[in-house]
């Protein structure tokens, strides 16, 4: 089984995620873009697991992918909480408005 398809897909997703993180102004969309990047990694992990150890389902790659999904869920929870607070304080979810750490 060729790796080209999954890797291309992962790359595409990762690039979309990076673009979203850097370019989008909406904080919710930035969070979603982060999820895209994590998923690109998951695809990579599953693809290589499939290629290298096709018979050992209990090991490594798949487990990593599951952990990442869990961590991503927690991350989204924290991230959304921050976004809510932000919205509550400023009535906006535009990340450009949040520059308190400026010089």
């Amino acid at each position: 089984m060729s790796l080209v398809g999954p890797l291309l897909l992962a790359t595409f997703l990762f690039c979309v995620g990076i673009y979203g993180v850097i370019a989008r102004r909406n904080a919710v969309l930035v969070l979603i873009s982060v999820e895209l990047m994590l998923n690109a990694v998951n695809i990579n992990l599953v693809a290589f697991q499939n290629l290298l150890f096709p018979d050992e389902l209990a090991v490594s790659g798949l487990m990593f992918a599951l952990f990442i999904i869990g961590v991503a869920a927690a991350e989204v929870g924290v991230g959304l909480a921050i976004v809510f607070n932000m919205f509550r304080n400023r009535a906006s979810v535009n990340v450009d408005d949040v520059d308190l750490m400026r010089w």
Binding site: I18, V95, D99, L100, M101, W103
Partner: protein
């Protein structure tokens, strides 16, 4: 009693203490400080007498008392000493100096009475006495030079005592500069001698006894001896008024008369003779040195005496007489008359001090130095008259006075020297007799002008007080008595000669060059060194008296001539000379001063004498003028332009360099660096702070960019 000699330094230190004390609080004392000087000198005198007695009964001293401590250790075991050397010669000088100084101190109390610098005068007298004693007691040449220079300074200060008058200042400067010039010779000579000593195994190359020992042992090279002693003799020439460096001595009479008596007649001017006597074992190594000394002495004793003929100032007469007598002493050294020279130094000190103090008494009475203002003083001043006449007789060498014994001794020394085949001996003998005529004549002239005839004074003359007459009487007694110390009345075992002999000059000491000369002389005439040989030379010596010629016996010329004996032939000759001179003087001056002084009518001779042989003129034209007008200008130029220019140039350069350093290095480089660092930090921070935008997305973009760069770099590396 012998332990007393260990305390001889007290004699020296006491006058110093008195000089200091007089300076410190003399003015507040009832006698204005003079009592301190007289008291300290009296103690010194008593000590000197005891020391003299002690050394005399111990004479000949096998081992002189020497005592010194390290003054300045110079490293590598080379030491400057400060010490004392007490033997007969030292004792004689101590006795002479303290006696005359004490007399002068007492005399000055009355003579200087009412002077505004009375206390200063006594301080200087005491300081001078200390300096002179320091010189005579020195056990090494460095200390002797120190004393020598100190007496020069005191002499300078006392000649210029009446400094309000320009001529007195000039006289002081002349004296100081003339002697100072020759002192260079003395110092060079001392260095040359000690340089010769450095090669030998000694840590004290300046020690007089060691130098004498080395010289007698023949360890000093001929060059060292000749050069060293000639240089030292140059110093002695100026100090002891030998021609042509005597020119300062007559001018030195500008000082107060007691000063003339003490410094310029009795003590300081004999310092040169003393040094020559001290180093006699060294100079006796070289015939060249002795001949030079003899010739200079002979020239001085004759031509110096002639100058006294044309003087009207009584002090000038005595000054030239001093020059002449010093010539006798130096000439005696030059013809091996060591004892005779020291003896004449000793007696001359007394009678010349007497004459000067007598002259001071006269001057005090008539308020003038000139003999033309005196006359007829015999009646008014009987004590002064009698003592002055005694001094004159002693100076003229009248039989049985001190001068007779000492001057004859010099002539006999010349005779013995001639007998050994040295021409300078004849010179000293015959010129000495001729100068005796001159001496007698000018002294007789002075006495007739002063004491005979009618008074020409504007002040009625009066006898001086007790304090002036007392010293005159004492010195008059000494002027007769001091001669008997070396007369036939003493035993052969103990007399002046054994007293002043040192361990290097003993009965057996022979001149190193005498053996050759004897041989040479024996080749020419026969049996030189026997009485007959001397008679063959045409000298009227007592050939039948063997002990006269003891020194020349057995063909050996020893330094000591043995016990003195009577020389009736010489006595007769000198008596004839004496009476001839007095007779001639009586003819011209006996009946009051002639309208036209015959000494002023000798044509060319008078001109030459009045011009003092042109020495002063020569000195003025070729030394004073060039030095004053050319050298002083050059010195001023070098000082004001060259040295000051160099100094201020260096100052300016330093200032400019400092300013340049300040402007460039400090302001630009260092300050610029520091400020620049600060400014650049501010400039960069202003720009770099913009990256801290607070915009998270930019940070993320930067992160991504960095990651990409790293990935690409790793990819490229692999």
């Amino acid at each position: 009693m012998e332990a007393l000699l260990d305390y001889a330094w007290l004699v020296v230190v006491l006058p110093l203490a008195s000089a200091v004390a007089i300076t410190a609080f003399g003015k507040n004392l009832p006698w204005k400080g003079s009592e301190l000087g007289i008291a300290s000198l009296a103690i010194s005198w008593v000590l000197s007498v005891l020391i003299a007695y002690q050394t005399f009964i111990m004479s000949p001293m096998e081992e002189p008392v020497e005592f010194s401590y390290e003054w300045a250790p110079m490293g590598s075991e080379f030491v400057f000493e400060l010490g004392m050397l007490v033997d007969g010669l030292t004792a004689v000088m101590l006795l002479l100096v303290t006696t005359v100084s004490l007399m002068v101190h007492i005399y000055s109390r009355e003579y200087m009475h009412g002077e505004k610098r009375f206390t200063y005068f006594f301080a200087m007298l005491s300081l001078f006495t200390f300096s002179m004693l320091l010189l005579v007691i020195a056990n090494n040449l460095v200390q002797a030079v120190v004393g020598w220079e100190l007496v020069g300074v005191c002499s300078y200060l006392l000649i210029g005592f009446y400094w309000e008058e320009k001529s007195n200042q000039d006289a002081a400067n002349k004296a100081f500069l003339t002697t100072k010039f020759a002192d260079i010779g003395l110092i060079v000579g001392v260095v040359v001698l000690s340089a010769g000593m450095f090669g030998l195994d000694t840590s004290t190359p300046f020690n007089i006894r060691e130098i004498n020992a080395a010289a007698t042992a023949g360890e000093l090279s001929t060059t060292t001896v000749v050069l060293g002693m000639l240089m030292i003799f140059l110093g002695c020439m100026a100090k002891s008024g030998q021609m042509p460096l005597h020119v300062w001595l007559p001018d030195a009479m500008a000082g107060p008369t007691p000063v003339s008596a003490l410094i310029h007649a009795a003590t300081m001017v004999t310092a040169g003779v003393f040094v020559l006597a001290r180093l006699f074992p060294v100079l006796a190594q070289s015939l060249v040195v002795m001949n030079v000394i003899a010739v200079v002495g002979v020239i001085t004793l004759f031509f110096g005496g002639l100058l006294a003929l044309v003087q009207d100032d009584i002090k000038k007469v005595l000054a030239y007489s001093t020059v002449s007598q010093l010539g006798y002493m130096v000439a005696a050294i030059g013809v091996g008359g060591y004892t005779a020279s020291v003896f004449h130094l000793f007696t001359h000190g007394f009678f010349k001090a007497l004459l000067f103090l007598g002259a001071g008494s006269l001057i005090h009475a008539v308020h003038s130095n000139n003999m033309s203002d005196m006359g007829g003083m015999a009646k008014a001043m009987p004590y002064t008259f009698v003592t002055f006449i005694i001094g004159t007789l002693a100076l003229a060498g009248f039989p049985l006075t001190a001068g007779f014994f000492s001057k004859d001794e010099i002539l006999i020394a010349g005779e013995i020297w001639a007998g050994a085949g040295f021409a300078t001996g004849h010179l000293v003998y015959w010129v000495g007799i001729a100068a005796a005529f001159v001496t007698t004549f000018y002294m007789a002239r002075a006495c007739f002008l002063i004491f005979a005839g009618e008074s020409r004074s504007h002040h009625p003359p009066h006898e001086s007080g007790k304090q002036m007459v007392g010293p005159l009487v004492v010195l008059a007694v000494l002027s007769i008595a001091s001669g008997y110390i070396f007369s036939p009345v003493w035993t052969a075992e103990q007399n002046f000669e054994t007293w002043t002999e040192t361990e290097f000059i003993t009965e057996e000491t022979v001149y190193p060059f005498a053996a050759d000369a004897d041989d040479a002389a024996e080749d020419q005439g026969e049996a030189v060194g026997t009485p007959g040989g001397i008679q063959g030379d045409g000298v009227l010596a007592a050939g039948s008296e063997p002990s006269v010629l003891a020194a020349a016996e057995d063909g050996e010329l020893t330094v000591l001539h043995g016990a003195p004996t009577w020389h009736f032939d010489l006595l007769a000759l000198l008596l004839v000379v004496f009476f001839a001179a007095v007779g001639v003087a009586w003819k011209f001056y006996g009946k009051g001063p002639p309208d036209r002084d015959p000494t002023m009518q000798m044509g060319r001779v008078t001109t030459v004498l009045v011009n003092k042989y042109g020495f002063d003129e020569f000195g003025y034209r070729f030394i004073v003028v060039p030095v004053r007008d050319t050298m002083s200008r050059a010195a001023s130029y070098s000082s004001n332009v060259l040295i000051d220019g160099a100094v201020s140039g260096v100052g300016r350069m330093t200032k400019n360099a400092a300013f340049a350093t300040y402007r460039v290095l400090d302001q630009k480089v260092i300050d610029g660096g520091v400020n620049g660092a600060a400014f650049s930090a501010a400039w960069w921070s202003e720009r770099l702070k913009r990256t801290q935008s607070g915009n998270v997305q930019r940070y993320a973009a930067a992160l991504v960019a960095g990651t990409i760069v790293l990935v690409v770099a790793f990819a490229a590396a692999t």
